[in-house]
Every structure is written in C-alpha cells, then in structure tokens.
Amino acid sequence: MKDKLSAVAKTFSPSPIQQLSHLAQRRNAINLAEGFPDFPAPSLLKSAAVSAINSDFNQYRHVQGICDRLAKIVKDTHGLEVDPLTDITICCGQTEAFAAAIFSIIDPGDEVILFDPSYETYNACISIAGGVAVYVALNPPHWTLDNEKFLKSFTSRTKAVVLNSPHNPTGKVFSKDELEVIATACCTNDCLAITDEVYEHITYDNTKHISLASLQGMQERTIITSSLSKTFSVTGWRIGWAIAPTAIASAIKNIHVRITDSAPAPFQEAALTALESQPQFFESLRQVDYELRRDFLARILAEVGLCIQFKAQGSFFIFAEIPEECLLSDVDCVRKLIEEAGVVGVPGCGFFHSNKLVEVGADNFYQKRYIRFAFCKSDDTLAAAAQNLQEFVNKAGAFDRSESVKC
C-alpha cells in the first residue's frame, strides 16, 4: 500500500533531527533547540483570549479589525498603503499564510529562489505545489548575499524569491543594500517575492527590520507573511496573515478558505487586543529581554569552544560553528552535548541544501559544521544551561582544545 502515497510525500524521510529530539527527551536535556519560549505568554493576551471564550466568540469568525489594525501598522512602520478589506488574509499561523501564498502563485515547473540555509518547511510546500526550489547559498561566516550567485540563479522559469528576514537559523537581518539587490532583480526579472517576517519585531543593536515590499517597485509584486507567534510569545495560537496586492490576496484568501476555512476564533479576538497594544509593548520585547539573553547565550557557547563569528542581528537564534580543532559533525556534536552536557541544539544540516544547478565543486563542508541554539528561554533555563555546559567543559574539555582525543 506504500505506493498509495503521493510521489512527493514519499521523498520525505525521517530526520536525524527527530531522533536527536527523542534522545534529548529521554535524557531530560535542557531544550535550546525548539524555537519557542518556555516563559509565559503576556497576561494581556491571555486575558483577552479568556474573555473571548467567555463572550461566546467561539463560532466561525473573521475579525476584520485585525486587518484594519495591520493595515495601519504596515503604513506606520513601512509606509505601505494596503486595503484592509481586500489585501489581508488571516490564517492559521504564518505557516498557512505561506502555504496559501505558494499555492496561489506557483504552477508546476515554476522555480522559486531560496536563500540557504533555510527553514525546511518552505521547500516542502513548494514541492507539493509542483514548484522547483533553487537555493542560493549565503556566504559563511557572515552569511552575506553573494550578488553574482544570486543573479545567476534566475531563469525564465523563476516565479518568485522567498525572503526570510530576520533569518532563521542564522539571525541575519538583510541590509538595505542587500534588499535593493533583491528588489532590482525581482523587478528586472518580473518575478514575485514572498517574505517571512515572523521575527520582524525581534532585532538587536538598533538594527532596523526593513520590509522588502517597501522598496521601489516591490509592493505590487510582494506577498508579506507574518504572525503573532514570535512577537507575542503565543506560538501555539496559530494566528498569522498574508498581505498582498489585491488580485493575489484574493487568490490567497480563496485558497486559505479551502485549507482551514478560518483561524481559531477566540485567538483572533485576542490578536486584536495584542495588535492594538501600545508601541511600548513592542519596544519592551525588542530591547530588554532578548538582547540580554542573546549575549548571555553567546558567552556560554563561546566558553564551550563554539565559534560565533556572526552575532545575531535578529530572531532568537545563535548559529554557532564547530571549531576547526573538533572533527565531529553537527549531528555528532549535538549528540555529544545531549549525552554529556544535557543541553540540546539543532544540527544545522537540516537547514542546508544543495542544488543540482550550481555549486559544482564548491566546498560544502561547512554545511555540517553549524548548530542552532535558541535563546527565547527563561532566565532559569539559560542559567541551568550555563551550569551544565560549565560542568561539561570541566569534565570533557571545550570543543576548541586541540587534543583531538576529546572529540
């Protein structure tokens, strides 16, 4: 009966990452792998959700107020004029917004350019829609955009570019210059862009998140996707959205209605409260909590001997490199950390891809040398991780010690 699976579903195989996560559970290891907070969601939001349930907002619902509010936010933040009645679709998370966007624009054979490393879900979605993912590697160690590689990746079949900024897993925030290169290429090749901006409010050192759609010639060809999840620490509520030019937005809405019909009603109500909350709320998220945690985690990872050549400018991930002296792969290194330090990260290999088209003879060794750690964790969790890692270093030695027997 295995032949009853769709052809694409058959290509998906169980990941080494899943096996590591089972190991981590068995070892009761401190979880710096998963990209969601272990501290409570804001009271303001929880109260709003409870209130919605009690007020009987429990049937199929579309809360237009969310669209109205989002239209105002993108206007104030990015200078974009969107029509809240026609251009915005509320979805079950950014995941669904992205899926609906892909299904709305990708025909079989259409090519979609992605920057590598990239979040695995994009590829799966593109494949099922019949599209072809074309990866453009960002250059380590600072994950810079290689203009030449990027421009060479366009063909007559390129339909869209996917841009995730702030970026998972590297923490990169694409610069204005880089965005301009991307925008120019999209306009010249007359193709679309889909952005994933879920970490838009999580940036550091006064780095500004710029929405690609705000660049010249881009609004008419860009689908913005984002969500409540990361900004408001409610990843389990599944409230996201897609903002697009009217014709495309209409297509996205019609697809969304067939995928899930609507986002959860009480959480839509709470989303309205969240989006209407004072700008100071956003500020407090940005400045105080996450930046300190980033710095703290960077310090303790450095003490274990991991290299952090690129300081995360946004998101809540640090993409740390295994030092030269250590010959372990990312998977083996993560296993070692689980078994001997009781701390979990995600091996970077799950985010890297290779192309049939480009990278012939290129050195892809680096694709097995990174580990992603999340710092959207409580003080207690980070402190416990620090302690565990310290004990690990005392016992086994840091990764950058040149006694290879330790690895």
């Binding site: 009853k4 699976l5 049937q59 709305s104 509520w237 697809i255 209605v257 995928i259 009603a265």
Partner: protein, 385 residues
C-alpha cells in the same frame, strides 16, 4: 501578475456571498452551518484553564498526546477499532484541514478520485489543488441513495480514492450498511482508498452511524476525518483530526506539517476534555437537535416546500420549485429579500450546477426561537404558484 492556473476553480464561497446578502437585508440566517448558541461550559472552561496554565506554545505537530489518546478512545467506543494514537491519529486545524492534508498528502496530479455530488464545496477545490482527475457520481432525490451500478461503472483499477461524507452535507443522507458493503467490496477489488468525512457522526437521528473503516478489509485503506466543531458547537475553534493506518497517516502528516505545522494548543487541551464527555452529553445533543429539526421540517412542509427526508447532520434539503422561481440561486435571493430568511443554493455543490437547481439547503443549528421566527416568515410570505 499571474496567479496559478489551479485557481480557475476558486471563487468566493457561496456562504460568504449569502451571509453578506443576509446582513444587508436583516434576514434570519439558516444558511451557514454554525450554531447561534455556544458550546458547553465544561469545554470552554478547559480551554481557559489551558491558557492560564501556560499551554500557549507549539503543540507537537501531529497533536498533543492527551488529545490523540482521547480521539483513539472515542473512535474505539464508536466503532470498535483500536488505533495507535501515536502513529494513526493526526490533529489538524479543523476537518477542513484534515481533508486538505489527506488530499495533498495522498493524491498525485492525474490521480482519479471519485466524488459524490452534492458535495461540501472544499472537496472539489482541494482536489483541483492536488491536480486530481475528478469523477462525479450524483446522489438523487428523494432518498439520495448511492447508485450502485453507476459506482461499479465508474470505479476501476485506475481509481486512486473515493471521497465520501456520511452523514452527508447537504442532504442529511446517511450511507447504509448495504451501500458501505458495496463500496467496500469495490474498493478492495480495485485497491482504492477511501477518505471518509464523518464530522456529523454524532448527529445521527434515523439510523446508527457506520464508519466505513470498521468494515472488514477497510481500515488499511481508509482515512477517517472528523472534528470538534459540530459535535460541541465550537465551530470556530478549528480542532479536527484524521485517523488512518500508519502508511497513510505518514502522507497526511507530511502535508499537515507545511499547511499549518501545528494546531492551536489550548483548543486541543479542551478537545481532549470534550471527547471524554459522558454518553449523556451525546444523548442530550441528539434530543435537542431532534426537537429543532422537527420545528424546521414541519414548518417547511407547512410553508409549501417538498421536504426530503434527512437522517443525519443538522441540514435539510428541500425542493423549492412550488414557488415558481427559476433556479436555486434565484430562489435564495428571493427568500432573503422578500421573505427575510437565508438558505443555501445547492447548485454550487455539484460539478454540473444544473443538477442542483431545484434544491436548497436549510440548517437547524439555531436556537428554537430563531427557527420558529424563520418558519413564521416563510409561512406568511411564501406563496405556491
């Protein structure tokens, strides 16, 4: 700026159009299938508790263990099958997503899929998204029985799957044991999958609901789809699920992982509590709906409609032709503007709209007062021609 070709089938749904017209005319909405009363307190409380307890982050992609177990336990109670919650149950954002994940995970472009018309409107659109080759068999009034000979001609070794819905929206028909046995033997003979949408299984009035997965030889080739919304009057919570053997669940989960990734966490905790409701909840549910159904059906008959018997769901379909309107859409528009009641024209639920032009659908998932008011309006204002 080109949208994908698959969108030719996609337009705003009929529900949205009718709802907008209804609001404009202050009409009583017996069109869209959601209650105007709320779900039970104990389920709402469970969700509130979950929110307060901090269950607001990503759930495990295929469902929180407690809900998967509760779903498996309920399924065993309902049809006797023992399934593994870890490998055979997948939680989704409503049954709509369960259907989308099943189709996208298990159907290849060009695969032949058999549908029964009239059908819930997302089926055709989602099958188009997957590039399926749709073959349609029409269920006809007055009893909407499965035309077995037609099915035998339609099904072959080329057929990949049958998508069925019992109890059936919009007609209220429930597939009988004889019909299911026929479907089963044809599927086994031709190695065909069955996707069975059973969201209304607890609203079975005239006969017991039978899950096709429980027939001999069928579990291994069936995906059974269901949800919380209809049974517990919480249609906006978007908690649904798919039950299938591991090799089919695999496909469903792959698609689900990129469609929505995970389902809302507090709703899942509440759903687990809901599914553990005692039998008395379901008895009372059926009794309440039976009363509502009687009010509507008697009222529709008195108003002059030809009412087709409905065994399950909270829908009833009727023949509107006694009132002399040209087709179902014209009738529904007339009903909203001149009578002040909303029904759904069923032609959109057929591949060939002509087949539905005499039939419209009413729902009785409204409080009794609302149903009586709607009935009064229709009795007063509808005149047979």
């Amino acid at each position: 700026m080109q949208v994908a070709k698959r969108l030719e089938k996609f337009k705003t749904t009929i529900f949205t159009q009718m709802s907008m017209l209804a609001i404009k005319h202050g009409a009583i909405n017996l069109g869209q299938g959601f209650p105007n009363f709320d779900g039970p307190e104990f389920v709402k409380e469970a969700a509130i508790q979950a929110i307060r307890d901090g269950k607001n982050q990503y759930a495990r992609g295929y469902g929180i263990p407690d809900l998967n177990s509760a779903i498996a336990a309920r399924f065993k109670k309902d049809c006797g099958l023992v399934v593994d919650p870890e490998t055979e149950v997948t939680v989704t954002s409503g049954c709509t997503e369960a259907i989308a994940a099943t189709i996208l995970g298990l159907i290849n472009p060009g695969d032949e899929v058999i549908l029964f018309a009239p059908f819930y409107d997302s089926y055709e659109a989602t099958l188009s998204m997957a590039g399926a080759d749709i073959k349609c068999i029409t269920l006809r009034p007055p009893d909407f029985a499965v035309p077995i000979n037609e099915l035998r001609s339609a099904i072959s070794k080329k057929t990949r799957a049958i998508l069925m819905n019992t109890p059936h929206n919009p007609t209220g028909k429930m597939f009988t044991r004889e019909e299911l046995n026929e479907i089963a033997s044809l599927c086994i003979e031709n190695d065909v999958l069955v996707f069975s949408d059973e969201v209304y299984d607890k609203l079975a009035f005239e006969m017991d609901h039978i899950s096709v997965a429980s027939l001999p030889g069928m579990y291994d080739r069936t995906v059974t789809l269901n949800s919380l919304g209809k049974t517990f009057s919480l249609t906006g919570w978007k908690i649904g699920w798919a039950i299938a053997p591991p090799h089919l669940t695999w496909g469903v989960r792959q698609a689900h992982s990129f469609l929505t990734f995970a389902t809302n966490t507090p709703g899942q905790w509440a759903a687990a509590a809901a599914l553990r409701a005692p039998d008395s909840y379901y008895v009372e549910l059926r009794r309440d709906y039976a009363t509502k159904k009687q009010i509507l059906v008697e009222g529709l008959k008195e108003a002059g409609f030809k009412v087709f018997p409905s065994s399950g769901t909270y829908f009833v379909v009727v023949d509107h032709t006694p009132f002399g309107l040209e087709n179902d859409i014209a009738f529904c528009e007339f009903l909203i503007k001149e009578v002040g009641v909303v029904a759904i024209p069923t032609s959109v639920f057929y591949l060939n709209p002509e087949e539905g032009k005499n039939i419209v659908r009413f729902t009785f998932c409204k409080d009794e007062g609302t149903l009586r008011s709607a009935v009064e309006r229709m009795k007063a204002k509808l005149k047979r021609t």
